[in-house]
């Protein structure tokens, strides 16, 4: 167990380090002359040099990388060029906002997806199973901004049940915040439903077919007991890892959803930074997204190991 955890955490560190190199390469090496990229082709050369000096991008790349990582580890995410303020000042509130939106989506999609998968597995290869699977497959691949636009039209403009903007009035209570977050979370739910339902169904079908299930049925246990105590427990294990893996795609979707619904989260922060060529903010935002994902997948592995006696008790 300890060995498994140590190995897994080590791999996460390697992944994170590579990720930081990729992000650094994307935001600081690829643009070539960063000051020129930010100020545009017509800016005065002295202004470009001045900016490069201010940002420290006239130093050797290795020094810049080391400085950036050292700053990141001590909570100094750099200076935003567009806002003329430290990046962490607005990155952390944005992250909190995105977490709220993602949490609402998660709390909706996890029970729905698992329920969908279970129902499909209990009716395997019948029309209801096919319908759930084809719906899940189709919903997964429709871009969030497309489902978002349709939802805004139906529930926001025609029925006027839900607000068009995800941003609530300042000082709004929990209920009002939830009311504003409901509509933006549905496109994310649609994207993730198919994956979770598919995994839950596959796990269920396998568990229903397993020897221990047959033994339980032959012992004379009721169908309800067999499903709750024997099938579900084994079936849902793989689903946990899928849920964590999907976090990254959830964050990818946040960019579009937050732009569409005018919401101040990490996604719209990355989008604004991209449009303003605010490389320090962009770089920090993208790395934070990667870290969130790496932590989520590490947490998923831990949970999986805790729930799976073969790993928990094994020497692996």
């Amino acid at each position: 167990m300890i060995g498994f955890l140590a190995k897994r955490a080590g791999l996460s560190l390697v992944t994170l380090w590579l990720l930081s190199v990729i992000v650094f390469a994307g935001a600081q090496v690829l643009p070539g002359n960063l000051g020129r990229a930010m100020l545009g082709p017509f800016a005065d050369q002295r202004a470009v040099d001045q900016l490069n000096h201010e940002m420290g991008t006239d130093r050797p790349l290795l020094v810049q990388y080391g400085d950036w990582i050292a700053g990141f580890l001590t909570g100094d995410l750099g200076q935003s060029y567009a806002y003329r303020a430290p990046v962490e000042e607005f990155l952390l509130p944005a992250l909190a906002n995105s977490a709220k939106l993602a949490l609402v989506a998660f709390l909706l999609v996890v029970p729905l997806g698992i329920l969908g998968g279970i129902v499909a597995a209990l009716k395997v290869n019948r029309p209801l199973d096919r319908a759930i699977m084809v719906f899940g497959l189709s919903a997964t691949i429709v871009p969030e901004f497309v489902s978002g636009i349709v939802l805004i039209l139906v529930f926001g403009v025609w029925l006027q049940w839900l607000p068009l903007s995800a941003t609530w009035p300042t000082g709004a209570d929990f209920g009002t915040q939830l009311y504003h977050l409901l509509l933006p979370s549905i496109p994310l739910v649609l994207i993730l439903f198919g994956y979770i339902a598919r995994m839950a169904r596959a796990g269920m079908v396998e568990a229903l077919d397993a020897d221990y299930t047959r033994t339980a049925v032959l012992k004379g246990l009721s169908r309800r007991t067999v499903i709750w105590r024997h099938v579900l427990r084994n079936a849902l294990l793989p689903t946990i890892s899928v849920i964590a893996t999907q976090t990254a795609y959830l964050i990818g979707g946040l960019v579009v959803i937050e732009v569409l619904f005018h919401y101040q989260g990490i996604g719209s922060l990355i989008y604004t930074a991209a449009n303003k060529k605010d490389f320090p903010t962009l770089q920090a935002g993208v790395l934070v997204v990667g870290i969130v994902f790496a932590l989520a997948s590490l947490a998923a592995d831990l949970l999986y190991a805790l729930l799976n006696p073969r790993i928990r008790l094994g020497s692996a």
Binding site: L11, I22, P143, F145, V150, G252, V286, F293
Partner: protein
């Protein structure tokens, strides 16, 4: 001499029969056929749309802007008075050029990478696997955004960036299939014949892993369309004045609170129908090849 030639000829025949049998299976799948018909419709729009649409999709007509759907303008007109129906039909063209090209880049790179990883294993495999993990920790749209800001948005950059981000994902699938193949007798036989590694990878193993590659690249095509549409929506994909669907939605979605639903709904339905069609086709192929 003729005896020596016999076995490969018979083998080739059997392989062809097998592919015909699979093709029949694919064509019998209803999901595949539905997807295929929709896909075919959009491909025809992309190829011939500009010649058949009733209006010029680029022509402004400010006096007739934001007209609701009518007999004259089936899907209404947008802010600049352009005919939405004509724009939706012609809008298939750019996304159906960029997304398949990106998928092709990803498939070719990914296949080569996967063959090398699976065949040599060891250090190459380990190093590339770690890089794949790191890349997979970032959503495609965010990687693409980063690269497009750094390099400046252009169609070629979109194709390359999506191709490069898909390559490791495809490589992982190919690698898994190659790992199973390399233990088989025909690979051992080729080694004993002292065939080179390149020959074994591309001539011996590649034809036997084409099935999984086909399935994976069809699935990736769906995601490429997803990614291109999303990038166009946020302004880093296909550039104006293209009548691209994602671009049109991004130009018009500010108007929907005013009730001008026709300027975005038809483009949205077009994207949805295209990605779902590609996904149904992929599902049909995967189902037929796994049996």
């Amino acid at each position: 001499m003729s005896v020596a030639l016999q076995p490969p000829a018979a083998g080739a025949l059997r392989a062809r029969d097998e592919w015909y049998a699979r093709l029949r299976l694919i064509l019998r799948s209803r999901t595949f056929l539905v997807g295929f018909v929709i896909l075919l419709f959009w491909v025809c729009c992309a190829l011939f749309g500009e010649a058949v649409v009733p209006y010029d999709p680029y022509a402004d007509d400010v006096l007739n802007s934001l007209l609701p759907p009518s007999a004259e303008h089936w899907f209404g007109t947008d802010q600049l008075g352009r005919d939405v129906f004509s724009r939706v039909i012609v809008g298939a063209r750019d996304i159906l050029t960029v997304a398949p090209l990106a998928t092709l880049v990803g498939t070719v790179l990914g296949t080569a990478l996967g063959l090398v990883m699976g065949y040599f294993r060891g250090l190459v495999d380990e190093a590339v696997s770690r890089l794949v993990d790191a890349l997979l920790a970032l959503p495609t749209v965010i990687v693409a955004l980063l690269a497009l800001v750094a390099l400046g948005p252009s169609t070629l950059t979109v194709i390359l960036v999506i191709g490069f981000t898909f390559a490791p994902i495809i490589a992982r699938t190919v690698r898994a299939s190659v790992l199973a193949e390399r233990e088989l007798d025909y690979v051992a036989a080729a080694r004993l014949r002292r065939e080179g590694a390149l020959h074994i990878m591309f001539i011996e193993i590649l034809p036997n892993v084409l099935g999984p590659i086909l399935v994976e690249s069809t699935v990736r095509l769906g995601y490429a369309i997803f990614a291109v549409a999303t990038l166009s929506f946020i302004g880093f994909g296909i550039q104006p004045p293209s009548p691209d669907w994602g671009l049109s939605i991004s130009a018009n979605y500010g108007l929907i609170s005013g009730g001008f639903w026709w300027t975005v709904l038809f483009d949205g339905l077009a994207i949805a129908s295209l990605v779902v069609a590609v996904n149904l086709v992929a599902d049909g192929i995967a189902g037929a090849l796994s049996d």
